[in-house]
Symmetry: C2
């Protein structure tokens, strides 16, 4: 383990997330569950069916199905839309999870042609969509756009994009890996946002801090078809209850805290932006997350953060990403961990960070 | 719920399996695990890596990787063998899991051409293999052949099949969903059996009674490649530890009991075969499982078993499968549950079963 990661792990407090991902996270979720409650069996049984129904209601859709992963759920929904569409083209952001984190599954397994919409360092716009040269069957919209720090279009623009798609027979799918985290900014319910989309995927282990698992929601016919593909993918496990139960548990624990996380993110980002040579993207967060960019080489920043983490007992990050020779960054998602830090301690750590960034200029 | 299933569920004792699949199965497995043990993260971390190494050793292979399901693991290994082979043809038994329980995933996702070897109601033989008209890249051998009651070729025939494949550049893959259950009959270690195969899949929730999960084992290069496909399939979950930990726990609990389960199966099958109009397949079990065939219509047998289960408190089965108008069957796998039944009680239940089968003739 490198020094930066070690100093982060050993820090008493952490700026981001909900705490360590230990076995206790699962044990806690199971504590209140009756020992005699029966396992789901290949997608049937009250434990999975009740949660699916609950999530269909929350998302304002006719039906929902639980998947072990979002990777599986999203490939499948795109496969179904393109199977029923006039062509096999799907448009998404150049830094979509499907493009950069899934080893090309959507192409290798489903032979879907992907169209990169807009540019990597910004949100795509209605105008980008209108300028596409070839027709598409489906548009995937990720809210927020994680790889650019969790940016969001305005709700107005989202409505226009949705309307344009509906007028042009384009299915609109929501990659809602962090949908819960958008609700305070939009000041809308999940169902209000999802009403702009034909299908929706949501995750239970990012802002909610569960173990793993995803829900795909949409019309009954879509969900019925997705269950066939879930089996084909090897996702129709005999028992998914460890993920279902923990998803439900942490949903209930944290869905009401999204506004707190969002507020924490704005406060912490403000402090970063006061430091020499540091800028957050977006400058003012719109969810609980943002990226922190340093205009210094990675080795230099790693050295600063390592000693800072050792001395202040505040964990900023365990890893840095290089962007060329003189810029590096990390991602921060605010959660329960932040509330445990005494205010004077984290504010003092930021003063110290600013001092050291100045010194090393 | 139908009457047969209800009477089975309510019966104090069960002939088959290890007990109810309740949340307690997971809770038990977690009891001894330290709360602070860290989750695996996308296939890394000691919790998953240690178990993979352990299973690689048990199976006598260079490397192993944990999958959420066997469906996923097996499609992937066949994809890799055919990608590297001269053609995309894979031969297996007509009632292979891949052919009848996976919604055609291996064809729909991987465009593999499947060749049905031999006939549905018997094991395929070396001779069947020799008579194939077209060349194949891979042969999948399921031990035991579940859909025909868990039959096994002799070890000698298995060796000949393996040798033929190696001489003809055919990869041999072992569908070892119930490999642990074969060990007493072959009187071999898992590694000795696996040495006849280029790749092996084993399961942790059938004879071992875990929650879900599978291991794929083989050469390092195969396993490395399979991890890429695992991500493509949506199987590279951030956390698989609920399945990994429970797999390890129940492996340790039950791997030493396979001979007991096998012996119980032989004793119980003997009793079935003493009854009028009942026959087991195979007649003399070679693992812990067999099928029970009744030469009577399903409705009639269901009525007999329902009252028998109500009156004797011995659960035989909760479901029956129709084979035409006058034959029906069910599958039985012996496990821990059988040991809990007082001998006189289950023997008396069989006498009663025989009486009622006679009466209804």
């Amino acid at each position: 383990m490198d020094e930066l990661k070690k100093s982060w792990k050993e820090a008493k407090y952490k700026l981001g997330n909900h705490g360590d991902r230990t076995i206790d996270v699962l044990k806690q979720a199971l504590t209140a569950v009756d020992d005699k409650e029966e396992s789901d069996i290949y997608g049937t049984g009250t434990v999975i069916e009740d949660f699916q129904e609950k999530m269909a209601k929350v998302l304002g859709k006719e039906a929902a199905v639980f998947f072990p992963s979002g990777t599986m759920a999203q490939q499948i929904v795109l496969r179904i839309w393109t199977d029923h569409g006039k062509n096999n083209r799907v448009a998404y952001h150049p830094l979509s999870h499907l493009e950069i984190h899934e080893e090309g599954g959507v192409k290798e397994l489903h032979h879907i042609q992907t169209v990169l919409l807009g540019e990597a360092d910004r949100l795509f716009t209605l105008n980008d969509l209108k300028q596409l040269e070839e027709p598409i069957t489906c548009l995937l919209v990720e809210l927020p756009q994680r790889e650019i720090g969790g940016q969001l279009p305005t709700f107005e623009e989202l409505k226009e994009i949705s309307q344009f798609c509906r007028e042009n027979e384009i299915k609109v799918h929501l990659d809602g890996a962090r949908l819960w985290e958008c609700l305070p900014y939009y000041n809308k319910t999940a169902a209000e946002i999802c009403s702009l989309f034909d299908s929706v995927y949501v995750s239970f282990y990012k802002g909610l801090g569960g173990i793993a698992g995803a829900i795909l929601a949409g019309d009954q016919s879509l969900i019925d078809e997705s269950k066939i593909w879930k089996r084909r993918h090897g996702g129709d496990l005999i028992s998914l209850y460890p993920y279902v139960l923990s998803s439900d548990y942490y949903y209930e624990q944290r869905i009401g805290k999204m506004a707190d996380y969002y507020n924490s993110a704005k406060r912490v980002a403000e402090q970063f932006n006061l430091c020499e040579g540091i800028e957050t993207i977006p400058r003012k967060p719109v969810t609980n997350m943002f990226h922190v960019h340093f205009s210094k080489p990675k080795t230099e920043v790693a050295a600063i953060l390592t000693t800072l983490q050792q001395e202040t007992s505040i964990g900023f990050t365990g890893m840095l990403k290089n962007h060329g020779d003189s810029v590096c960054s990390f991602e921060l998602s605010l959660g329960d961990a932040f509330d445990k830090i005494p205010e004077k301690d984290w504010l003092a750590a930021f003063q110290e960070l600013n001092k050291r960034m100045n010194l090393s200029s």
